[in-house]
């Protein structure tokens, strides 16, 4: 466990130093260049690309979480029950849809830039959160439901004090999956001119400058792993809290 902590802090520090002073690392990337190509991507600063990458991911995941949890609550209440089988099928089938396809098909509606990327991230992010929230809300043990009813809780109280807290670890797992997919898809968003770290990778692929590709790829990977890890830790904390009461 201690080793893991050292590793995490080390990754964050290294990432921060690299983003603030990329030139210090030029010697690492220089061997990957050919014919005197620049070793560090400077068209846009890596720091600003990272910030806009994270903002896009954050906005899309937040919106997807709100809508997906809302929908999952709606189809598990008596008023929306009729839509439950359909929504489950759509969530299952939707996940076979590759994120690239969602991204490419959003372009004609929204044009090039950040908007189609946001839409694709949002739509694709809905599915894992919705599916996990649905599983969490529909698998509350019947005894617990009975006990809550026996205590005289109203439907609304049961939702807020019993069902949602019990479903929370699963919902967080859904948010984690969505956020990690969003980081990857946001990178592909640069093919439709969104300002993300994918820009460095694509510039590197076009100019066959491996240093750019490696920079973009390493920063994106570090972000994905840190976010995966962070939300995972939150899940474990919530889970433990539930068990201890």
């Amino acid at each position: 466990m201690k080793l893991g902590l050292v590793f995490r802090i080390g990754t964050i520090m290294l990432l921060a130093v690299f983003l603030l002073q990329p030139d210090w690392f030029a010697f690492v990337f220089a061997p990957m260049t050919k014919n005197g190509q620049p070793a560090i991507y400077v068209q846009n600063s890596l720091l600003s690309l990272t910030i806009s990458h994270l903002l896009i991911v954050f906005a899309a995941t937040l919106a997807a979480s709100a809508v997906a949890i809302g929908l999952a609550i709606a189809v598990t209440r008596p008023i929306g029950r009729e839509f439950l089988p359909l929504s489950r099928t759509i969530a299952n089938a939707g996940q076979t849809f590759p994120p690239v396809a969602v991204l490419a098909l959003a372009v004609p509606v929204l044009g090039f830039g950040t908007e189609p990327t946001l839409l694709a991230l949002f739509l694709y992010g809905l599915l894992p959160i919705f599916e996990n929230a649905l599983t969490g809300l529909t698998t509350v043990p019947p005894q617990v439901e009975e006990a809550a009813r026996g205590m005289g809780m109203t439907d609304r109280e049961r939702l807020w004090q019993v069902e949602l807290p019990l479903a929370l670890p699963l919902i967080l797992a859904g948010v984690r999956i969505s956020a990690v997919i969003a980081i990857a898809t946001a990178a592909i968003g640069s093919t439709v001119a969104a300002s993300t770290l994918g820009e460095a990778i694509i510039a590197g692929l076009i100019n066959s400058n491996l240093a750019f590709v490696a920079q973009g790829a390493l920063v994106i990977s570090a972000l994905a792993i840190l976010i995966h890890d962070g939300i995972g830790a939150l899940e474990r904390r919530v889970g433990r809290h539930l068990i201890q009461g």
Partner: protein
């Protein structure tokens, strides 16, 4: 499959179906929106045509009448099988209508005009698609029933495509221009997705069996694979270019067998690495799930470790391993699209070309087969997993 589907008795609120109301609303809006978009060539803005303009005469009137009746029927609560027939029938009618409309709108002998389905068509497809999907999920078909339905729909699509009914539609115009490369990229796409899966099973299954009893290595291997799984695809594809380019340049014979920094090799390797984690972890889960009593009984019968593995443990772990294969195949079919960015081929070639040229028909030519492939793989393998697990329970 763990059944979350506790049978739902629908609260009976009267003869009105709520989803049907939504379907009818979509159909109503769809019928009044433009049905097809006519462009004199690929670049100019198009003119919108309603269903009646696209299909003049009796045909158009008949189509509008039938679609309205189908939409209204959805509102009334009826049996799921009946609703499925209405939904599929209406979708078939739409397929015929758009094809005939496009054939009629195309000036004779014209090769450059582009006719694409417009908003109204898509709303109608969405409406009746929802109706059909809802009835399928309410019918709770058996695994074989679901595969049968998939085959029937695929056969209908193949028939429509072969008949030339849709040949005036813009997507198929794009296809006609590059039929050769379409099938070549299709082959590459399938080879990438399936090849990496096969490699992952060949390596991952023994790896899982080997580390299963060894607690320490097991923790490290699964942690390492999880980290790799988290690395975004475009980044992993990119990161593999450098080492492979180095290998190709410095290891004698490597370039001769097709290893290169750019192209199919890094794509295949990346997909393989992604596939490894689900295969290994589900092998472990499957082996963990073998009841201690079964192991004891096998030992008591005097089975060797090898016999026990092949005759007891692996058959019991099979549903879990098959589930991994399902996850990996569907995931790989989607991810293989990105291989095009590093020159690896596949349907992604059309998607990214289309994005580059803002030619949506070209994007569709890449995206639709990918989605169809992934969806069919999911339905078929889900059915296999369900059949195998059911046999287990007996």
């Amino acid at each position: 499959m763990p059944t979350l589907d506790t049978p739902l008795t629908r609260p009976f609120t009267g003869p009105i179906d709520r989803l049907g109301v939504l379907v009818a609303a979509l159909v109503a809006v769809g019928l009044f929106s433009p049905f097809a978009l006519f462009r004199a060539n690929r670049i100019v803005p198009g003119t919108a045509q309603t269903l009646l303009e696209a299909l003049p005469g009796v045909g158009g009137l008949l189509a509008v009448a039938l679609l309205s009746v189908a939409g209204l029927t959805a509102v009334i609560r009826t049996r799921a099988s009946f609703r499925l027939m209405i939904g599929l029938g209406a979708l078939l009618l739409l397929a015929v209508a758009i094809g005939m409309g496009a054939n009629g709108l195309t000036p004779p002998g014209d090769k450059v005009s582009r006719i694409a389905p417009a908003m109204g068509f898509w709303l109608l497809v969405l409406g009746f698609g929802l109706l059909a999907t809802d009835s399928v999920s309410r019918l709770r078909l058996s695994p074989l029933g679901r595969v049968g339905l998939l085959v029937a729909v695929a056969a209908a699509m193949a028939l429509i495509l072969a008949s030339g009914l849709w040949s005036s539609l813009s997507v198929l115009r794009e296809y006609a221009n590059r039929a050769d490369s379409f099938w070549r990229e299709a082959g590459t796409h399938v080879a990438l997705a399936v090849g990496s899966l096969v490699a992952a099973v060949i390596i991952g299954l023994p790896l899982g069996i080997f580390i299963h009893p060894r607690r320490r290595i097991r923790g490290w291997v699964s942690r390492g694979l999880t980290v790799i799984q988290t690395v975004p695809s475009i980044a992993l594809f990119g990161l593999l270019i450098a080492p492979l380019a180095w290998v190709a340049a410095n290891v004698p014979g490597a370039a001769a067998i097709g290893l290169a920094g750019i192209g199919a090799a890094p794509a295949l390797l990346a997909l393989f690495v992604y596939s490894l984690m689900p295969v290994v972890s589900n092998t472990l889960v499957g082996l963990d799930g073998v009841p201690a009593a079964s192991n004891e009984a096998a030992r008591g019968m005097g089975m060797t470790d090898g016999q026990r593995l092949v005759q007891v443990q692996l058959p019991l772990a099979l549903p879990s391993i098959l589930t991994a294969i399902r996850i990996v195949l569907v995931q790989n079919i989607g991810l293989a699209t990105i291989a095009a960015l590093i020159g690896g081929g596949g349907f992604g070639v059309f998607v990214f070309q289309g994005v580059g040229q803002t030619a949506m028909d070209l994007v569709l030519l890449g995206a639709v087969p990918t989605v169809a492939l992934a969806f069919s793989a999911a339905v078929i393998l889900d059915a296999v997993v369900e059949l195998v697990s059911r046999k287990d329970q007996r």
